[in-house]
Amino acid sequence: MMSNENELSHRFEINGRDFSNAGRASTSIKEILQEIGIDSSIIVRAAIASYEAEMNVVMYAHRAVLTLNVTPEKLHLKLEDEGPGIENIDLAMKEGFSTATDEMREMGFGAGMGLPNIKRNADEFEISSTPGKGTTLKITICLDSTQKK
């Protein structure tokens, strides 16, 4: 990965079914962003998007790597997972659609809000998936106020 002076990058590993550590990456991301003085409304968007992404991995995938990249202009989050992938992305992006099991629903997840919620908090959103292999998610949030959504 390219690393220059003006770019901060962090890598988080997330494991499927690891509910006890779920949320750690998003907490770290929030702390990093607070330290460098990012506006709190943006921090919340990044924290929600990364948390939902993290939970998706914990619930459905085997493992994933989440990378955070911050430059003075933009914040990028990239999530690459190894897992079942998504058969029909359009369907998965619909609010209320979920393949969550009853157990997951009991824990308060699986409302079918995950991906739409990530998209809502992003300025740019890209998703690609290979069924049987995994899903890649890329989101961008603009930090420069002139480019804000």
């Binding site: 003006n6 901060l8 990093i32 330290e35 460098i36 709190s40 921090i43 948390y51 003075p72 308060g108």
Partner: protein
């Protein structure tokens, strides 16, 4: 930057730099410099954890001394309901209130009724509210400060209803000044506090308004004198004090008291700062959006666990439960008149005057590009450290030390693991000097430099 008032002071005479406070501080606001602890004002949320843990009682809460009473023509004590849990079970609030009067206050006001009214006002607010959920109780000033510092996005979820002690003080001043034909400022209202943070909420309210209270006296300071002052008071001799009490309000002394008395179904109560942090993280992630109301206290078990209380916290928690039962037995009214509360609520009687504003920590740099650079430096420094959080450098963790170095507030050499390297450098420097004795007389700067550095590692 604006100065923050804090209710906690470290007495350098007493401080022996034992670093207990350093480790226990939940916001990493303490550093030990030259063997003395110091507080970083910007980071401190006045939770009082350091007071409890200091083995030398060097950390003192800044509450008011008793002598303050003489400044006023008429004085009223407003005890926190947590005071009722400090004595034997047979001692009911009426006796405690009359004991307070024996201590020299002109009057003692039971806060429970006001607490009950505020509970109802919260209920009204919950019913009308349509914004993001859950709403968060403002009863604990440390929690409010925690939100201001660490969770600025949750600030609009803090309930903007005035605290019972403030409402009580406001109304007492109004009423008494008419009754006694005195000016409001001639009436002194003193809160008997279970924790130091109430003191700052008086000196510097979070919402930037002005407090109606004139001071706070620590429960632990008043405990001994009050015990003696209660001797000989017979049960029922101060029955009048009970007219004001209400069962609904006594619960404010413990965690879950508000939820319990309002019988809120969709609420949760949390106590202890570590637990509060977990719950707030979940709120921020949107995980608790189906909860209506969160009651959070920095001290374990709520106000009965405050650092200025005397009784064991679990005992006092049970005593509050027992007291509620006892009061029911004494046929004390359970709650204030809800119609009256609703009427006052509509008149904005309960709302705070100011507004809660965020108080985010200073970033590593104002300029984002520079902040990013510093953040990377911090990481590089951290990677070079032993990561055992020994605290010998005076910072609570290796990570905070790395941050201090980046901010220019500490030097890498302060880490004892960097000492061997420093010795090597110094000995090299020395042997260089010995090889060239002539330069000692020629240049003054280099030996001077050595001695300066030698001093820092002493």
């Amino acid at each position: 930057m604006k100065e923050y008032f804090h209710s906690i002071r470290i007495d350098p005479e007493k401080c022996e730099g034992r670093m207990k406070c350093l480790r226990v501080c939940p916001t990493q606001a303490i550093r030990v410099r030259n063997a003395k602890a110091m507080i970083i004002a910007e980071k401190c949320i006045d939770c009082g954890e350091c007071i409890t843990v200091c083995p030398h009682s060097a950390i003192v809460p800044l509450t008011d001394p008793f002598g303050e009473l003489t400044k006023f023509r008429h004085t009223v004590a407003i005890p926190s309901p947590a005071l009722y849990a400090q004595f034997g079970r047979e001692i009911l609030p009426e006796k405690i209130l009359s004991g307070i009067k024996n201590l020299g206050f002109d009057d003692a006001f039971d806060l429970a009724l006001t607490c009950g009214e505020v509970s109802f006002a919260i209920q009204e607010y919950l019913r009308e509210y349509r914004g993001p959920k859950p709403l968060i109780s403002n009863a604990c000033p440390t929690v409010v400060r925690l939100i201001q510092v660490k969770y600025p996005e949750l600030i609009d979820q803090i309930i903007p209803i005035e605290l019972p002690r403030e409402l009580a003080a406001r109304e007492i001043k109004k009423k008494k000044s008419k009754q006694l034909k005195l000016k409001e400022k001639e009436i002194g209202t003193f809160y008997l506090t279970p924790c130091p943070v109430k003191m700052i909420s008086i000196k510097q309210p979070a919402e930037k308004g002005k407090s109606f209270l004139d001071g706070a006296i620590s429960i632990s300071d008043i405990y001994g004198p009050l015990l003696s002052a209660m001797e000989g008071i017979k049960k029922g001799s101060y029955r009048k004090a009970l007219e004001n009490i209400c069962i609904l309000g006594v619960g404010w002394a413990m965690v879950g008291g508000i939820c319990r008395t309002l019988r809120l179904k969709n609420s949760l109560a949390v106590s202890g700062l570590g637990e509060v942090l977990k719950v707030f993280d979940d709120i921020e992630r949107g995980k608790l959006r189906n909860i209506d109301f969160v009651e959070a206290y920095s001290c374990a078990q709520g106000c009965v666990g405050g650092s200025l209380t005397v009784e064991n916290v679990y005992i006092s928690y049970n005593k509050i439960l027992k007291l509620i039962e006892n009061l029911e037995f004494e046929q004390i009214k359970a709650c204030p008149d809800i119609r009256e509360v609703r009427k006052l609520y509509k008149q904005k009687y309960f709302f705070i005057k100011g507004k809660f504003e965020p108080r985010p920590l200073k970033p590593l740099d104002k300029d984002l590009a520079k902040a990013i650079k510093k953040r990377k430096e911090k990481e590089d420094i951290y990677e070079s450290l032993p990561k055992i959080d020994c605290g010998a450098c005076g910072a609570p963790t290796c990570l905070t030390f790395a941050e201090d170095v980046v901010k220019g507030e500490a030097e890498l050499i302060d880490c004892i693991f960097n000492l061997p390297q420093k010795f090597t450098d110094l000995s090299l420097e020395l042997s260089e000097l010995l090889k060239k004795p002539a330069c000692l007389s020629q240049t003054k700067s280099s030996p001077k430099k050595t001695s300066k550095k030698g001093k820092t590692i002493k």
